[in-house]
């Protein structure tokens, strides 16, 4: 399954490093990545493949929450299909 990870918060050093290190540890491949400033916030969006993940989605979400709290950003993981359903006909 493919998922979208969205990171929203204040721009600072180490956000990409923090998130990608965590994903690498769990054997999750990043297939695409983009970053931009939206509505005044740093926004990073990653398309990841979690088929190869060594942990469950629930545990991964917990880890991402904890990391987000540590570096002061919000990290959201959602199945890719929710965006396809809403924005693609």
């Amino acid at each position: 399954m493919k998922a979208i990870i969205t990171v929203i918060g204040e721009d600072k050093a180490g956000i990409i490093a923090g998130v990608s290190t965590l994903l690498a540890e769990k054997k999750i491949n990043i297939e695409d990545i983009s970053q931009t400033i939206m509505q005044g916030y740093f926004t990073m969006i990653m398309l990841v493949n979690i088929e190869t993940s060594t942990i469950s989605i629930e545990a991964l979400k917990c880890d991402l929450d904890a990391l987000g709290e540590k570096i002061g950003v919000k990290i959201i993981l959602q199945h890719e299909d929710i965006f396809n359903a809403m924005h693609r006909i």
């Binding site: 199945h79 809403m86 924005h87 693609r88």
Partner: protein, 451 residues
């Protein structure tokens, strides 16, 4: 990859605008559970529900986690129990208690289907069933009840409506220690639908399959935000904005319904396109109507705005789902909608205006608290009026009204949770006693005869 703006758009809908899937409801046929005794039938119902719905809460929670969209309620609807209990007159409560217990066992929020369909006539077992409703609602916790009293095709059963007025009063009396809360679990319908996933009116029609997943979406906050972002749009443009928003909302409902049905090994039923409010700030249908340009919902122009909203929601939603059904429209429950509560409290939203609004939306006079001393005949007459609107306009209408014991106009009643709070609304003092006591059937309108 999906573009960033769309991703943020979806995230904002959930995080800031209260977007959620309001309910995932499993419809279960209990027809095969009828056995030799009420006790054995009750046990069969209990076993079947526990077996088929065992995973509904887990699956809904998993989907919610994976897709990042809250699924607020998990529910079950069953075959109208008047049919299941038909051989056991006077023992209906045995089956009712088994349903309540099974629903608690699997962990759902509500179970619906303590229902009877008496739109043409009331049989002796249905009369016994209706008599059982007050005690059932007072002695169970999450079991909901409904009675269909009319259809466009068959007319309206005024005899049944007379009984319902008395039954509602009795239910309020039996649950007076909880402000008549039992009445919040009962709804009277005209043109009831067989695949409604929303409570209190959900039941699993006899034309349905064995195990079906129906999903009800929500999203008043999302529609409100979309309109707020277009302050200079004319009303044609507003309708387009609502359509596009409804499309997105419904696509999520369709996705969740499809996936839930697959994981639960059930048939994919319908997606109900209803905009269902909650008492939370920013989740109100009333506030949408105000954002369209009415200073307080209930003022002149409200009915027109609601008609636009209701129509646009259906048009947008219909393209987004392969199976649209249920009630599908905008709900206007008073106690469950922060904007409606405020408008009722200010005195601008009145019962007569609510009645007019029900002619153009789904569903009816919903979660309205009235004085405890309201005569049974007045409640019956309120149901008759709503049923007439539904019958003539070929649409579903409903009445969920609570005559709150020992409360009068100006008082407030608190039900808590999604059921919210409501001011006691004024009912006219003119009597309908003679009309209701005449009894009989209201003939079906000529356009009901379509063959």
């Amino acid at each position: 990859m999906i573009n960033s703006k769309d991703i943020i758009d979806t995230i904002n809908m959930v995080q800031k605008e209260h977007f959620d899937v309001r309910t995932t409801t499993m419809g279960l046929s209990l027809l095969g559970c009828i056995s030799a005794t009420a006790e054995k039938t009750a046990q069969n119902c209990y076993d079947l529900i526990c077996r088929r719905a065992e995973k509904i809460v887990k699956v809904a929670n998993d989907l919610s986690m994976e897709y990042g969209v809250p699924i607020v309620n998990k529910r079950i609807s069953v075959t109208p129990i008047s049919l299941i209990a038909s051989p056991f007159k006077g023992q209906e409560i045995v089956i009712a208690k088994a349903l309540d217990k099974a629903a608690k066992e699997v962990g759902v929020d509500f179970i619906g289907g303590y229902s009877a369909l008496v739109h043409k006539s009331t049989t002796s077992y249905e009369r016994s069933f209706i008599d059982s409703i007050p005690e059932v609602l007072a002695s169970t916790d999450i079991l909901c009840s409904s009675v269909n009293v009319g259809t466009t095709r068959s007319g309206i059963n005024l005899d049944a409506i007379k009984e319902l007025g008395e039954m509602i009063k009795k239910t309020a009396e039996l649950t007076k220690d909880r402000d008549g809360f039992g009445c919040a679990k009962f709804v009277a319908f005209c043109n009831a639908v067989e695949d409604n996933p929303f409570m209190a009116g959900a039941f699993h029609g006899v034309g349905e399959g064995e195990c079906v997943i129906n999903v009800g979406v929500s999203g008043p906050g999302v529609v409100y935000r979309a309109i707020k972002d277009a302050p200079d749009a004319n009303i044609t443009e507003i309708a387009e904005i609502i359509k596009k928003t409804a499309f997105k909302i419904t696509r999520v409902g369709q996705l969740i319904a499809t996936e839930a049905a697959k994981r639960l090994n059930a048939e994919l039923g319908i997606v109900d396109l209803s905009l269902a409010p909650t008492p939370a700030i920013g989740d109100s249908v009333g506030r949408i109507l105000e954002e369209m340009g009415i200073s307080t919902v209930g003022g002149h122009g409200t009915t027109a705005c609601l008609a636009i909203l209701n129509d646009a929601v259906k048009k947008g939603g219909t393209m987004a789902s392969s199976k649209v059904g249920g009630l599908s429209g905008a709900f206007i429950p008073v106690s469950e909608d922060e904007g409606m509560i405020a408008a009722a409290e200010s005195g601008i939203l009145t019962l007569p205006k609510l009645e007019a609004m029900t002619a153009v939306c789904s569903v009816g006079i919903d979660m309205v608290a009235v004085p405890g001393d309201t005569p049974a005949s007045t409640i019956s007459a309120l149901i008759a009026d709503e049923a007439a609107i539904g019958m003539v306009n070929n649409k579903t209408t409903a009445v969920r009204v609570i005559p709150v014991p020992n409360k009068k106009v100006g008082d407030f009643v608190e039900f808590g949770g999604l059921l919210g709070r409501a001011p006691i609304m004024d009912v006219t003092c003119a009597s309908a006693e003679k009309f209701i006591s005449r009894g009989g059937k209201i003939p079906a309108p000529i356009h009901g005869n379509k063959n």
